[in-house]
Point group: C2
Chain length 554, copies 2
Amino acid sequence: MSYFEQHQTIISRAIEALHQRTFYAQYPEFPSPKIYGETADADGRAKFQSVVGKQFNELLQDQPSSWIGQEESPYMQEPLNIQYPQFETEVLISRALESFDQWRKIPPEERASLLVESLEKIKSRFFEIAYATMHTTGQGYMMAFQASGPHAADRALEAIATGLEEQQRFPRKVNWEKPMPKYSIKLKKEWRVIPKGISLVIGCSTFPTWNSVPGIYASLVTGNPVLVKPHPGAILPIAIFVAEIQKVFREAGLNPNICQLVVDTFEKPAAVGLAEHPEVKLIDFTGNSEFGGYLETLPGKTVFTEKTGVNSVILDSVDDIDKVVQNLAFSVTLYSGQMCTAPQNIYITESGIIMGGESISISQFSEKLSAAINGIVDNPKAGPFVLGAIQSKDTCDRIEHAHRLAGKVCLASRSIEHPMFKNARVATPMVLQLDADQKEIYSKELFGPIVLLIKTNDVEQSIALAKEQAETNGAISCGAYTVNQEIRDNIADQMSLAYTPVSFNFTGGIYVNQHAGFSDFHVTGGNPAGNASFTNPEFVIKRFTWVGLRDAVS
Amino acid sequence: MSYFEQHQTIISRAIEALHQRTFYAQYPEFPSPKIYGETADADGRAKFQSVVGKQFNELLQDQPSSWIGQEESPYMQEPLNIQYPQFETEVLISRALESFDQWRKIPPEERASLLVESLEKIKSRFFEIAYATMHTTGQGYMMAFQASGPHAADRALEAIATGLEEQQRFPRKVNWEKPMPKYSIKLKKEWRVIPKGISLVIGCSTFPTWNSVPGIYASLVTGNPVLVKPHPGAILPIAIFVAEIQKVFREAGLNPNICQLVVDTFEKPAAVGLAEHPEVKLIDFTGNSEFGGYLETLPGKTVFTEKTGVNSVILDSVDDIDKVVQNLAFSVTLYSGQMCTAPQNIYITESGIIMGGESISISQFSEKLSAAINGIVDNPKAGPFVLGAIQSKDTCDRIEHAHRLAGKVCLASRSIEHPMFKNARVATPMVLQLDADQKEIYSKELFGPIVLLIKTNDVEQSIALAKEQAETNGAISCGAYTVNQEIRDNIADQMSLAYTPVSFNFTGGIYVNQHAGFSDFHVTGGNPAGNASFTNPEFVIKRFTWVGLRDAVS
């Protein structure tokens, strides 16, 4: 392979970055023409538009039983009418098994190199993937580009690097010699990395590539054939990834079915049949807690989940309340709160937030937050692009229902007109104020632009509630604002015990929602929000087994 | 701590050994007076005898609710009458929780150092532990010394080293700076290793220390308090370990309840109540598949099991059949086959074993094997000491039952007189010949000195059956004899896919039963014989969670 050397350099640098955990990115996150080419954006948009209403015919999977596709654009509220090939479960499984013997025998270093080649190919399609992501998830353009393109590719590279490193941790072969009183015993020993078997990756509707590529690439680099089953509402972005992976395999003379796309419909979902198939050994899932919980109990499977959570913000004391409010307003407005890391429960003590000698009451904070949200939303150069559109009608129902909950609506959700898409499904954040004893309302994820302000007795109660929510309902992020070192240390200690990462005193251009590849472990795996983490060693180690062979030396 | 530096050297060397995987041992395996002292053996025996019939009062666990103990010596078939303190489940749990905050805050390096100190203390008690092991498990003196003393201590050190290394894989703190078009974002990041919580280690009756210390030390080094619940028939050997660990903790000013012994009775087992307790997060288990399988399904627990398996030997072709027979005879005679690594199913093709131009039929092999077993058993200087005694009466029943199975008894089991213990429960290996279609007989573990010779059509069938047994009923070892490179490679490939280590062409002083610390992964974790492996990175990684903290830099 001509690119083998070059890609080994990319991988070595990535492995080094894993351990440095300082800032690192292989794929530039700004959709800059200087980096990606002057016509890249326009070409990507045209490429996306050319597939709308057509068959997606890039996959190297022969003889489909039919062509299906139900994606709709949240910006146009119209079907995209893109058709994908559909296959029977047994066809998918037998093709995966057929490819397994070939793939498992490719050395890990070569597997890693082939997978990096696929990312390099995908790089030239980031803009197309961005438009595909916008018109399936409702993400704004910038997020769609960054999350589905470079950030996803970096997460994929991270999984490749972690996976390769784990497979290189022990020697392939050694001569073993044990000294005995009168002679020595000699053995030749060999260790093999044996993949677990067919891997199923089940995607979600809001982050179709970012949340799926870590599992796909982690399974592939460790030698497992992969079935990629996206959410029926968000197929195209990951279909482009799969198509490019398949092309790289074919070019290398390998069976493209090592990585297959599985498309299903809302009416006839394929996940259960595949997950319960005895030949499926590995399952990656992003989505709701109910289905994730079911998958986790399947016997004989190794399962990686990212489910729902109740993310908290603890407000104790601040240097500058306006900067804090500005930061939080952006965090809850970004992609209309449809991020697994978006804050939901904001805890404020009844004595208010301390700033210098002053105290900001929960009502004052609520007014400031509402004003800041409106400030973003009503800015025509920001609002529509930060909010994006609402992926699922269910989220709109949830928002409507939230207005009727037993609490004080401080800010109602509303729609605004999108300058480019008149028919976009838009909902701005709502703010609801509750008391600490209204636990039945705030003890679950209210996915979408729903912010709860919860009045507590004191900061100890705020911490205890945030911890309890994380332990019982899961949490992927926690924001905390305090200028008191003792309280900071207590929050760090208590939230750590609930296996929840904490971001302290974020203001300016960094938000609690963001988790950076090569540095932040996304989801800890320690609380009900998920049992896995992008990408820690456990995420790849469980995809293969070390087997030792010993030969007597005569 | 005065020994901190010195122990860090032991640990660094151990970490290096993990990755070399060549021969390495910290604790010398021969009970040599030159190493352990002229009077060590006699002192150890006296120390053991002094506790028989008494209370074991070395534990630093106060206020027991009663004193209990039901151990019996398989050599004397008499109760040992050693009494251990018993505690209510809630007392054990609350004491463990009380100690947790203290233990989790000790840095991993110091935890590792304290644990090595415990091993250094235990080293002076190896002989006492050897006698305690003999008179609970029935092991012969040499095995009792090696397995429960130095080999167990090496496995414990291996777990400490692996655990420390995994906790050191990522930096504790970094400055993270992300360059942006007009400015840069700065964060201070910190990563913490957060232990899972209370760890329960459930021991077995045959290897009370060797099989339990990896879990105990892996949980401790990663910051979890541990409850050690030995088999009610084999308590004393591990009680001595726990007592020494507790003394080290007390000397260091720590709560000795970080590691507690839990003793129960045959009539009122404590395992289920503890395993299902919501505060117990980690479970290590060695024992039968039924209970292990139940533990693996407990929701919300991280479970490590070593269960039963059906180990195979594939006989294809040999250089010297007599050397092979001698080796196998020893493997099945050693500790009367009461090892999880002992061979059970020996597959031989109907055309026989190839040696040069000749072929040795299954009947000829069976005669040779029987003669070799008798040769060991009837040698008064070897037989009684290699065989040891039978730990459980159930094993004797199983042997008796095996004589009535539908097969040809080539060699019957019998008793021989032990020169030192007239009342010892002894059973020599039996050999039963079966056809490949008598699957109902050979498709389960027949724990003890029961050897099955299975006649197959050809070597492909031998391999297929060995693989199928490993996949469906588990396997911890596989021996294979072939001088044909192609067949060797096929066995290696196929048994690897069943996640079973293979030992090729062992003759002389090395046996398929032996798995060496710092080199051989014991149990792969990939087939039904167990879901964990001593000690691979997964064995320790799952005992803690990485949690990241981020502080804005103002």
